[in-house]
Symmetry: C2
Subunit: 477 residues, 2 copies
């Protein structure tokens, strides 16, 4: 028998090269343990509802009515749904004559793309064109689509922050391009130094790689830092000089836990800078309904907005969207609701504000509890989670632990995280899945477990860590 | 200013090579005309709800409740929802502790994959393993993912029926492989002759292409034929001899409009054939919630089932699924409902049967009205639509029309379809978008317009066609 196309030996090599740690060895082991009856705290993925966060009520009411439009003709509908949810459901249904069961345009419903454009305009103070906004099945799908357009082969490089969210490394591998790392500075609260960028580009050139695009994740994943306006200006100048497409992963823009650096979009900074930057830098910005105080991950809704991209390229991207016909329509409506929430005076306004503020304030407290908790542990140091949904503590592993990991055939941080999982049920992702400097070890955890569970989780972590460090400490007291 | 990565000139060439006619020139022109106020009948895409088909009530009730689980605690819920919809919503919510807002496993919810496996077992009489079933955002996404694993470069060929659904040609272009066409025989009701397959493979080899996979679309799109069991056996023998992965696009399995050849799955035939075929042919079968009497296109739900694929390859496919985290969860629930509909004795059973039978019987009548209508037109011949959702009439264009098209810079069938669109508002897809033999012209239309509108649409088509033929006929009477 010869080898067949779906035998491992003959698969597309780019597929095999992909690594995706967020759902990698740790996650698989955690799933096994869960099946065996162990209580697992899944902090490997930013998946708030899975850890008990309740969905916002108003958007769920609206989407439920859109799924069951016959309820709108029922005289009892007012007993279960408020009038503004009913009105809003009618508003969205009027945009899609076939309802949620009809494919939309491949870019998404025009009416919702218009609402997104209005949101961007309110946020940034610059008008936005709905024709340059495409709705997607989550932000990841949009990132993949754009990278597929950019990457022509191994000679094409994409600058990616390290530590990075593995969507980028995985997608660049899958499409056969080259990841060009630029290191964030842990000692400067994961700051981005433009000199590092220059060095990364120079090194890539030396290897024959043409750098074509740069990814920023703001707020950072897994690192949680918020980029300052000054830093964004430097980045935009750099992209302009180097003729790089800037991919702005801004999915955590609602998740800000400090007041010094509020979120500012790459697009706003670019427009503020004026010509030539504002007219020449190619920017694609990504957003989602999965993060923020929404956390509607399972709905798979997102968008990307293109700036300074020619109509001919937009047409090509549209054509590629067409192959899979349309993003899912219910999540398009979630996106409409996210960018156009209840307004003061609406029946559901107070509830909406109460729910969203409650989530955001609790996340802010949890960010603090987690960072402080890590910093109280032996051989653990952690920058404050300024934004996003993650803590990324450095674990200073003693040489004996690194040795023990080697003997077990594991990367040292994988070794640590596996032990943590077995001992406590806390499922994290080893720092090596995101990239880190040689010989430095981290783990990523979300700040999403319920606030009331946090103290116990942190004390369970602390206890494990102490035992671990004691076991592998060189000099015992 | 140099060229930037998202300038048209420097895009990934594979992206530029993609053609996707279903949403191509005709669709774009139709959208323009619609904006200008013209009434357009969109028969370019199999999008039943957009043409007035009502969704089935029970699944919408269940998904609405899953979106708004707080309704389950409302004492008035029974006024708007039947008890079995409430019970079913609880059943699905119990499978996803975070509800619809939580990412599921990247393969889909285990409980729903189990329901799919049970459906396959009931359908085929052979057990199915949920671990080999992956839920997807529609069947197209699954097809793209599998082709991405198979195609390593231009030297890899995929046998695709011609005429074909352009998902296949587009995806093969996008991933840089080679489409190897095999022609369906229009004079034998679009039958598949295995000798043609052999010839296609031989020709591909001569060009240095290794054929690695074969696509069948059963029932056919755009051609509407249903494959016989004997034909499927020949195909499976051929795949076995040639060591081809068989991709079974079976999304229209509910759409059957004759009694001679009921749908039979490739997997059942393969299992019936016994060893070595049943143990050696690699098969991936695709299904969806978008077609059948469901037509829930906008929800984007589907699955694929793998047979005779090694665990190591399944792990690779799982890893690739992980990059975009999870298929959308609401559509997973639609899939669960589709494979596990209300049973006799359930409160909603009769309504469910009445609605689904009503849709299917009407489609059957519409298939007949359309085929007969086309065959009553001058220079038009059309095989009966045995299954799926399309008619694919051959239009025998007079030489003068072909000449006029050439002068207008159009492919002849595009020229015809554009004139049809401008005159009648009927938006079809030219046969050249699906592939056809040199010098033979077709168009594809869905059979989905409302039954009561059918006579008018067909008479409007007939009138246009007569005028067209008269205008371009060589010898005028």
């Amino acid at each position: 028998m010869g080898i067949k196309a779906l035998d491992y030996e003959s698969l597309n090599e780019n597929v095999k090269k992909v690594e995706y740690a967020v759902r990698g060895e740790l996650y698989l082991r955690a799933s096994e343990l869960q099946k065996e009856g162990k209580k697992i705290i899944f902090t490997n993925v930013g998946n708030p509802h899975a850890l008990g966060q309740r969905p916002l009520t108003f958007p769920r009411q609206v989407v439920a009515l859109c799924q069951a439009p016959f309820l709108l003709d029922d005289p009892n509908v007012g007993l279960l749904f408020p009038a503004d949810a009913i009105a809003r459901a009618k508003h969205y249904l009027s945009m899609t004559p076939g309802g949620l069961g009809a494919y939309s345009d491949s870019r998404g419903l025009p009416g919702i793309r218009k609402e997104v454009a209005e949101f961007i305009e309110r946020r940034d103070g610059y008008s936005s064109d709905p024709e340059l906004i495409f709705l997607t099945d989550g932000a990841s799908k949009g990132v993949m689509q754009i990278l597929n357009c950019i990457i022509r082969g191994q000679g094409d490089g994409v600058l990616v922050p390290v530590p990075q969210y593995p969507l980028y490394s995985a997608t660049i591998s899958l499409y056969g391009g080259s990841l060009v790392p630029y290191y964030l500075d842990e000692s400067a609260n994961w700051g981005l130094d433009v000199n590092n960028l220059r060095e990364s580009v120079a090194q890539a050139r030396f290897k024959g790689i043409t750098v074509r695009a740069m990814v920023i994740i703001n707020p950072g994943n897994p690192t949680g830092q918020c980029l300052s306006e000054a830093n964004l200006r430097e980045i935009l100048n750099f992209c302009h000089q180097e003729k790089l497409v800037l991919l702005g992963d801004e999915v955590y823009q609602q998740n800000i836990y400090q007041d010094e650096r509020p979120f500012i979009s790459a697009r706003k900074v670019m427009m503020d800078m004026g010509q030539p930057i504002s007219k020449e830098v190619q920017l694609v910005s990504f957003h989602t309904v999965s993060k923020g105080y929404w956390g509607e991950c399972g709905q798979r809704g997102g968008y990307f907005e293109m700036t300074n991209i020619s109509p001919q390229t937009v047409d090509e991207i549209y054509k590629i969207s067409s192959i899979s016909l349309s993003p899912n329509v219910p999540a398009q409506i979630f996106m409409g609701l996210m960018v156009n929430p209840p307004k003061p005076g609406d029946i559901s306004y107070e509830q909406y504000v109460r729910e969203s503020k409650g989530i955001l304030e609790s996340l802010r407290r949890r960010a603090r509890i987690m960072t402080d908790g890590f910093n109280s542990c032996k051989n653990v140091v952690c920058n404050f989670t300024e934004g996003a949904m993650y803590s990324f503590p450095q674990i200073r592993l003693p040489p004996k632990a690194i040795e023990a990991a080697k003997n077990a055939g594991k990367v040292a941080d994988v070794f640590y995280c596996l032990k943590l999982l077995e001992a406590t049920g806390i499922s994290t992702v080893p720092g090596s899945g995101f990239g880190q400097k040689e010989g430095v070890f981290h783990l990523r955890t979300t700040i999403l477990p319920a606030e009331e569970d946090m103290p116990e989780i942190m004390s369970s972590f602390k206890k494990f860590n102490e035992g671990f460090m004691e076991q592998y400490e060189d000099v015992k007291i």
